[in-house]
């Protein structure tokens, strides 16, 4: 789960990281008030959960409260990569001397957290990493000990940070690690961490991504989820514990298991078709979940055929069959369907579906071929 910039920075502040003075606003009038309170120049920043806000014109400098109101009006009327801007962050503007990059994330090969830092922070950081990898400092952290002071100093030294700033930098780096650990984050990133003209270190921008598996023990963080930023169909899928990703093809897929779901998409492509989605109903899915999954697939008007591929283990084929039947009762559809059921209670599953109008297949290849043919016929 991704947090907004303003949410991330509030968490940073709670962990001793200096952030600009500022507040979030959902109307231009509030943005103006905040600008008046702050006095002087402010930055108006669109709060949407996509990258590239600056390049899209979603981050602007205002010299007066009146200008802040005007820019907030513009930004609040924008869409960035398809997402309407519902809130802006109004921060006091900083006079920037230089920009640093600092983050902590999971390093899966080393199976440890890794701190990543560079003296050349800012929006071009990935270019820096690509062109001059020696300008990126990485330091693995022992997850049982956390980030120690000497390690944070080591990072400061390796990015050649002026010594005057080491003490504050150590506090910021350790605060960032602490935020990452306390929130069960998979990423905590400050970009840029700026050195101001008056020699202060401030986290100008912030990003946190939280581990969905850990949200059950962070009720306060789970409540920060902004469902306005998600496609309604994804919100619906999550409600039922389904993993759904929309794609641009015409064959809807319902599969148990992520690996098998991806392999099913691959074999559709191999047979000349295009998958409309990735959908994993998970292990042990009951008929409610299956019915919800079918409604979600059918909500995509581009779907011209549906392929069910269920390899029963924990998931029982008869339960899946009942779910399909239940969904078909509540959803009117003429989209053709192909079902392949193998494993636990497959005979019972097939018997239940015998009355429904659907094609059956014994193998995955056969199922894919049939789905591709049916989709072409239905689309014609």
């Amino acid at each position: 789960m991704r947090l907004h910039e303003y949410q991330s920075k509030q968490i940073f502040a709670q962990n001793g990281i200096p952030i600009p003075r500022g507040r979030v606003a959902s109307t231009a009038a509030t943005a103006k008030e905040i600008a008046m309170e702050l006095g002087g120049r402010v930055v108006i920043k669109a709060q949407v959960l996509v990258g590239g806000r600056g390049k899209a014109g979603g981050i602007r400098l205002a010299r007066t409260p009146a200008e802040a109101e005007e820019l907030a009006t513009q930004i609040l009327g924008m869409q960035i990569k398809g997402l309407p801007v519902r809130r802006v962050l109004v921060d006091e503007a900083a006079a920037i001397r230089s920009e640093i990059y600092l983050a902590v994330t999971n390093e899966r090969n080393a199976r440890r957290p890794v701190m990543v830092a560079s003296a050349e922070g800012g929006v071009e950081i990935e270019q820096v990493a690509h062109d001059t990898p020696d300008k990126i400092v990485r330091l693995l952290v022992d997850p049982l000990l956390g980030l120690r002071e000497y390690q944070a100093r080591e990072i400061a030294s390796r990015i050649e940070l002026p010594r005057d700033h080491w003490k504050t930098f150590v506090q910021i780096a350790r605060g960032l690690y602490q935020a990452y650990a306390a929130c069960d984050a998979t990423l905590a990133e400050i970009n840029p961490l700026v050195i101001t003209e008056d020699q202060r270190l401030i986290a100008l921008d912030g990003k946190m991504v939280l581990d969905d598996n850990a949200l059950s023990r962070h009720q306060d963080l789970a409540e920060l989820r902004d469902i306005d930023e998600e496609a309604p169909v994804e919100v619906e899928a999550r409600k039922y514990g389904l993993s759904y990703v929309a794609m641009d093809g015409d064959i809807g897929c319902m599969v148990n298991g992520a690996g098998l779901a991806m392999a099913t998409m691959d074999i559709i492509k191999f047979n000349g078709g295009k998958p409309a989605n990735f959908l994993d109903i998970g292990g042990g899915a009951g008929s409610d979940k299956v019915a919800a999954a079918l409604r979600i697939i059918l909500s995509d008007p581009g779907v011209h055929a549906i392929l069910f591929n269920i390899f029963g283990g924990i998931t029982r084929c008869d339960e899946v069959a009942r779910g399909i039947l239940a969904a078909l009762e509540s959803v009117e559809t003429r989209v053709p369907m192909v079902v392949r059921l193998v494993g636990t209670n497959e005979a019972e599953g097939r018997r239940l579906l015998a009355g429904a109008k659907m094609e059956t297949a014994a193998t995955l290849s056969e199922a894919a071929r049939k789905a591709v043919e049916l989709a072409a016929q239905h689309a014609a």
Binding site: T105, R112, P143, D184, M262, K269, G284, F311, G313, S365
Partner: protein, 289 residues
Amino acid sequence: MSILVNKNTNVVVQGITGHEGLFHTEQMLVYGTRIVAGVRPGKGGEWVVSGKVPIFDTVSSAVEATGADCSIIFVPARAAPDAILEAADAGIPLVVCITEGIPVQDMMRVRKYLDEKQVRLIGPNCPGLLTPGEAKVGIIPGHIGRPGNVGVVSRSGTLTYEVIHAITQRGMGQSTCVGIGGDPVHGLGFLETLELFEEDPHTDKIVLIGEIGGNDEERAAEFITDRLTKPVVAFIAGQTAPPGKRMGHAGAIVEGGTGTAAEKIKALEAAGARVARHPEEIADLLAGL
């Protein structure tokens, strides 16, 4: 024959009284696995499965009383890290964790602790182990396997069943099937499993099933080049999958360009592995070796 588990493996089930724990304990017993004990704090002294399996309060007391040398874990995600540590501290050399949904930071701490112990962890979020005809320690449907000379190692769950099923349908069989699990931080990996298959005199061919993400498959390819003499057939799921949601800049910087199906396939082919285009082709390629 086999790697990791066989008919002499003595298994303790952690979380034996739960819905899944009990169901799969019965399934494993039916398969012929030696389930010698269960653990459920607060229910020590009771018996389950028609009086066949004694319950203990702690893993160490179960080990002391029964000599269990393998543990399988079905406890919920919030208690699973503890269950793994408890098994390791009780001196169990092989721990299979089926549980899915364990937070990554928990697993990083668990792995760090296990690195200093003599213990092999399989999983978490995995289907476990199946040595056809001898033992299953996990949830792979037993009837789809058949004794044979193909070693199977996979990051997936149900996709592994699909492949085992296809191998059996083609008249071949498996030495051992190892589901290493799909979580970013897990126990036994491709490398260690390939090494075990290389040393196993009864495994002649190896099937490796990977997925997009991470670079375990690329590292396996290096290992195949450097160390493996047995032929490998591979499949990578996710050739058509949409690119994963980006994890900020740090993800791109840390993982670089690795992780796509195309790159993994290229690395495996360069290492001499035959790469199947879809799961059913795995059995065809094996039959041709």
